[in-house]
Symmetry: C2
Subunit: 327 residues, 2 copies
């Protein structure tokens, strides 16, 4: 049985090897940006989830390496294309690919990453390969759907909470769920447990994204790293904003909408004003309650997962780690 | 046994059904552009090749429908993203997706198409599915490599003919080769013949692209449809230009380079001037000779393909059709 830290080390080493190969591959303007993207780092949360799920059923976690790489490459592909769409210049304190290279290179190397994800996955040596590829395609397409819903929401004010939850399920949660199930499939785990792991990952993924929304406004600035209030500035339809629009009286709603519609404003002033409204409406507590509901739901599923005690504990530690992050 | 025209009808009907489904799917800003792209039409050359190759071995061509759809969706995805990269506003007399919708929608719906191609392919009911998915991924990544080499060539003048041939092999020929092999795999054809079909498609694909280069300059304007000389205006590194740079004496090369470097010029004047140089250097005849070499090479492979006479003749008709196109 391996700890989360050990798994993180395993996958980081695997990725490092791939980055060396990528940086030697031609055309360099296609594979160089891919190596650059993968070398940026990050928590490697998703591939760790793949390996951890595999480890619940077997010590041979190398069986899940291809799937872990596939998921990480796919996730980084979505970030790369998202950065073009959002015109975000920075990613993990480095220049985004479309800024370091150019937009065409960013589009094309992203396209190649999406295909490379399949090529990694195809290396999995298991009778479950067909299932894994189908799960991967279904998930990948859902992530695209989630991203489009998110973009659609930018120009809408009447987004309901159920619509929002469905969007983050697609955009964020299904990939975490898929990561766990993929690791289980790579280990030839029983279908019932693989499915439970998927549901566990889904609940956890929604809680994870809601916490992300919360941190943008209420994080500790020192630990948070990036600037607080980015979502407020860009009028992002987060759980917090949608809940505030739902709960506010006419006067407060008018004030909130005025801030949303303002074209010119002082950033800090807008952040403070919106945050004040959130505090008045108890949005922090309501969001925390919702996060906890999804987290409890995940824990209930966890109870049902029948694997030996020690490995199951590591899965719980992962969940706690995801829930306790402050940046 | 089906004629090419019948196969074209079959695949068009299949695509039409998919378009109806796509236009009903949500989010509409993701699936609408995909339906729009697939409904634009085109010759459906690649899916017809899939079905025709399948038909060499079985009458049950519906076995190859998933693969045919996969290849056509993938091909249209590459066109969609190419149009963003080339800033091409029109595609098949319709607005390109990034113009009709916007660039973000074009990026994301392209991403989704690339995944949908896999989802279609996964529906293939054959023991060869693993092989087909691997062939598809390998080919798709090669197409990305070809596109990047093509973009790299834009800023280079010292592209050699072998480099150019390698680029069009990747960007164009491998997908035609893959189409034929895919149809054969869907029909559980013997490996030797599947591989021969791949090589046949590869030679044909290179001849096809060289003819494309030739038509841009020497086509009959009436039949050609689009404007003649587009490649000359944009200084595209075609076989014709690279051959002319290779064969020209110092004075002619200087003239050619001056036209390439000019920022402001009369379009018609540049086309006439470059065409005159091509004619002086016998570029038309040299290109035709090269096309014929690849075509003859394809015919030699065709001789080796052991399938019943009637269906084999249809494969030859397809090759002739590809070679005789004038637009």
């Amino acid at each position: 049985m391996h700890t989360i830290q050990e798994l993180q080390k395993f996958i980081s080493d695997e990725i490092e090897k791939e980055v060396i190969l990528l940086n030697e591959s031609k055309p360099i303007n296609l594979y160089g940006p891919i190596g650059y993207t993968l070398a940026m780092g990050g928590k490697r949360l998703r591939p760790v989830m793949v390996l951890l799920a595999c480890n619940l059923f077997t010590d041979k976690i190398e069986r899940a390496f291809p799937a872990a790489l596939a998921i990480e490459v796919f996730h980084n592909f979505t970030l790369l294309h998202d950065d073009i769409m959002d015109q975000a210049d920075m990613r993990r304190n480095s220049l985004a690919v479309h800024k370091k290279y150019n937009e065409n290179i960013a589009i094309l190397s992203g396209d190649a990453m999406s295909i490379m994800a399949y090529k990694y996955l195809e290396k999995s040596e298991t009778e479950n390969l067909g299932k894994m590829i189908r799960l991967f395609s279904d998930t990948a397409l859902e992530v695209c759907e989630g991203q489009q819903f998110d973009m659609d929401f930018e120009t809408r004010l009447n987004v309901s909470i159920p619509e929002y939850l469905n969007m983050i399920r697609l955009k964020t949660a299904v990939l975490l769920a898929c990561s766990l199930k993929m690791g289980a499939l790579a280990a030839n785990a029983p279908e019932r447990i693989s499915d439970l792991l998927y549901v566990f990952g889904l609940d956890l993924g929604i809680a994870f994204q809601l916490r992300d929304d919360l941190l943008d406004v209420f994080a500790d600035q020192v630990k948070f790293g990036k600037k607080i209030g980015g979502d407020i500035i860009s009028n992002k339809k987060t759980f917090l904003l949608l809940k505030a629009l739902e709960l506010s009286d006419d006067l407060t709603k008018k004030e909130l909408l005025e801030w949303i519609e303002k074209k010119e404003f002082d950033h800090q002033e807008k952040i403070e004003a919106v945050k004040k409204i959130y505090i008045k409406l108890n949005i922090k507590e309501i969001t925390e309650k919702n996060i906890d509901n999804f987290y409890q739901s995940a824990l209930n599923v966890w109870e049902e997962i029948e694997v030996p005690g020690e490995t199951k504990t590591e899965l719980l530690l992962l969940a706690k780690m995801i829930m306790s992050r402050d940046h």
